[in-house]
Symmetry: C2
Subunit: 532 residues, 2 copies
Amino acid sequence: MTGARLKHYGWGREGEGMSAEERKFVLGRYRAKFATDEFDTIAVPGLDDLSLREPRVAPPASLAPFCTTDRYDRAAHTYGKSYPDYVRAMLGDYNCAPDVVAYPRNEAEISAVMDWSGAVGASLTPFGGGSSVCGGVEPRVDGIKHKAAVTLDLRNLSKVVEVDPVSRAASIEGGTYGPSLENQLKPHGFTLRHFPQSFEFSTLGGWIATRSGGHFASLHTHIDDFVESLRVVTPVGVLETRRLPGSGAGPSPDRLFIGSEGTLGVISRAWMRLQPRPSFRAGASVRFPSFFDAARAVRAVAQAGLYPSNCRILDPQEAFNTGAADGSAAIMVLAFESGDHPLDTWMARALECCADHCGTPEPAKASDAHLQGAAGIWRNAFIRMPYAREFLTPAGLINDTFETAITWDQFENLHDKVKAATERAILDATGVKGEVTCRFTHIYPDGPAPYFSFHALGRHGALLEQWQAIKNAASDALIGAGGTITHHHAVGRDHRPWYDQQRPLLFAAALRGAKRELDPQGMLNPGVLIDP
Amino acid sequence: MTGARLKHYGWGREGEGMSAEERKFVLGRYRAKFATDEFDTIAVPGLDDLSLREPRVAPPASLAPFCTTDRYDRAAHTYGKSYPDYVRAMLGDYNCAPDVVAYPRNEAEISAVMDWSGAVGASLTPFGGGSSVCGGVEPRVDGIKHKAAVTLDLRNLSKVVEVDPVSRAASIEGGTYGPSLENQLKPHGFTLRHFPQSFEFSTLGGWIATRSGGHFASLHTHIDDFVESLRVVTPVGVLETRRLPGSGAGPSPDRLFIGSEGTLGVISRAWMRLQPRPSFRAGASVRFPSFFDAARAVRAVAQAGLYPSNCRILDPQEAFNTGAADGSAAIMVLAFESGDHPLDTWMARALECCADHCGTPEPAKASDAHLQGAAGIWRNAFIRMPYAREFLTPAGLINDTFETAITWDQFENLHDKVKAATERAILDATGVKGEVTCRFTHIYPDGPAPYFSFHALGRHGALLEQWQAIKNAASDALIGAGGTITHHHAVGRDHRPWYDQQRPLLFAAALRGAKRELDPQGMLNPGVLIDP
């Protein structure tokens, strides 16, 4: 990581944010939506205004060189980037601040922090970039079993250690941020090609621990599929899995740690499968009369075995909100890319699938269509959007997103049920009609990953309760309609009640049995995924 | 299952086997290899000649309707199809025969058998088709912790329960054999498209429990990738995972059971992703001057993102042994297939990759090339080969196969080390020069799955020791060179010593922790994957 330090409140680094023009566009949409000229806006306390409890533990001399109890570090590691995180930070509630933040520089220092945390009865929260939108990095201790909270920030494990150009794989440290990772791979002609929306402010270890989904729509886009082997530091020792392109030897050890959200160990290093940098691209924006027409075209493309790099669809309102269309049509952002061969045949067949479902391509030059037209506008909005929450929250606006996956046979039912339940909950909770829109982020032959955004006009003093009521209704509807509580945001603390409904009880028991072996004191992220 | 019953010794059903002509071809190759006219051949005892111990337990009345202690059933469930299995069966050693074989018809009956086995202190061995080539179905009890052995044959759970044509998925019972599964899917226009060599005599549940690899070379061919959700009966209850095309909610529950080899529960049902029946095919046989030239072409194809349905290569000797070539060239069996689109573009680019590495296509009509020429001959030999062992073993011949996966950077080293170590071990163990050949079965962007066959002239009275010495040398070399002890055959009892070297110790601990929760008495396949 280079440059200014990360904000303790807000997205990205200090000094960064939306331009005046971008703010105007975003707020303009909300003014129109809620037919109001001004929002009741409150001030966010500065770092120096925060009152943090005295640290309950102090690191011993041997750990002091890479540990801190400084105000900034503790504040910047209290929250992730979820909506309730922003509200509580805006209200100056830093009750959950860690007592100590450790920045280990190697596995031995991670182990040393674990040993010390165990000795003083502290919980330990692994921290990558802190971009969790589901309460994944907040240290929450009960004061009984765990008497203090230590956060383990992996940013100093930030190297691409080795590149194997023959097998196209690299050994990369867990705390490596997205841009640094790509910069280190670039001279070798490779890319990890994993670009979650949080790319700039998240790390390889975080992606693996949360089963991150990349920007690409199909085939290998989940971080799960890129993992060739892992090194994991647990409180009882370090384990390393073998570098293998495939194996049938027992249950996959990697898959136990992928998605373990810091409850079983800390991912210190991984061999990751790489891609060549793409040299061929084909892209298009396609208009559809309705979202469900577009969805049927997506199903046809997904089941055709074409594997587009992008095949997102936006419903008409979502396309309008991002400025990608006028609200009268659904939009598909379609793209193929390859480091090996031209893609005309692939694109031609995909456009036939679209035409079968009333899809009309927008005219664009094939080579850079992904940067042009509706696709380009949407792409830019997508990357910039996380910067909006830091001023929307103080304006009393509730905007959030949630995502799921569902088989095709159940998709339309889930979509309608979830949209209706969320709209109703917004009206019930706020007294004002809100808005719920949907897009697809990832597609599979057996179903899509729908991604919902919602917008509500909240009321200061009640924002947390209002958000929670909406979140509950949306999540109940998701789970009731057969979806998953998260497709790529992870479980964290926010999704735990619905994860408990979705995840078989006996699997929780198995996970608890595994955790008891690897983390006998239960210090790692207590309460995340399973009860102690 | 329909037709004649399965052999208690040999491959397939009673009355089936190689034709006189096939036997002549196979034995002819061995006569030439070992420069001998006749082999010292002994007789295999018939079913009635076997001496089986008295059953140590008898099923209670409530289980009697679907349990048996009959001679045939016990003998037919003593062994799988590994080389040492054949030797011991040939020698009349049925010491490990189960005391009782249960054929439950539903999950309640599976649970009832588990309860009873727990009560009488019996071990429980789940049994699909019994085609294990690594000691995966042999009940081995110590007489102390486990006083008897019960085998649970799932063949009566054999239905395709539901087909979802929209999402292209089906709910299928775990005991469904390959041909029955495909026959039930066919009227719906779908296929599971999973064709392991054991296809006819293995079951869906067995494929999932052992991480079976299908016939297809790339992309979705491992059974792992087809599983949408699972139902598993454990000694403490039934669990069911949610049908989802993708999810980021915690570690994948399915992946814990995929590859668990019957140690955590019995897979009673699964929702599986289906494929359309292919309507487009392109195929070719390509000749290469050497196996490593062919391997470099495979790497190019795999890394190009073309995803051939077949991209096997045979070394010159392997091609000769199957009659596919004259021994002067390595052969690639290359094919693409799709239910959606013509494949000329894909094939043309793959052939360019081959040409870059001195590959010359054999002339053939594109549409049925997979049934013609070298490819067709090899394909037929592949399917028929398992029938050979039942007469090769009594002839004192040792023929076996083993498989692995390795990253590309290490492949040539592994190949040479393993081949040399195995050849040396054959000479040391038998005093006669043997033969070791190699092909690829599956390919990945980061490495191949090499598959070795070896042939040795053994000596009656020493076959087990000779085989074990060769197996040890080959496995030590595999593990020493960085490979996996199994890519798709599974661990079973035969691979356990090398699995222990490959699998992180702490993962074994985690697995033990999980097993204690799901199988507190440790009745399920004791000694498989982990110690109790």
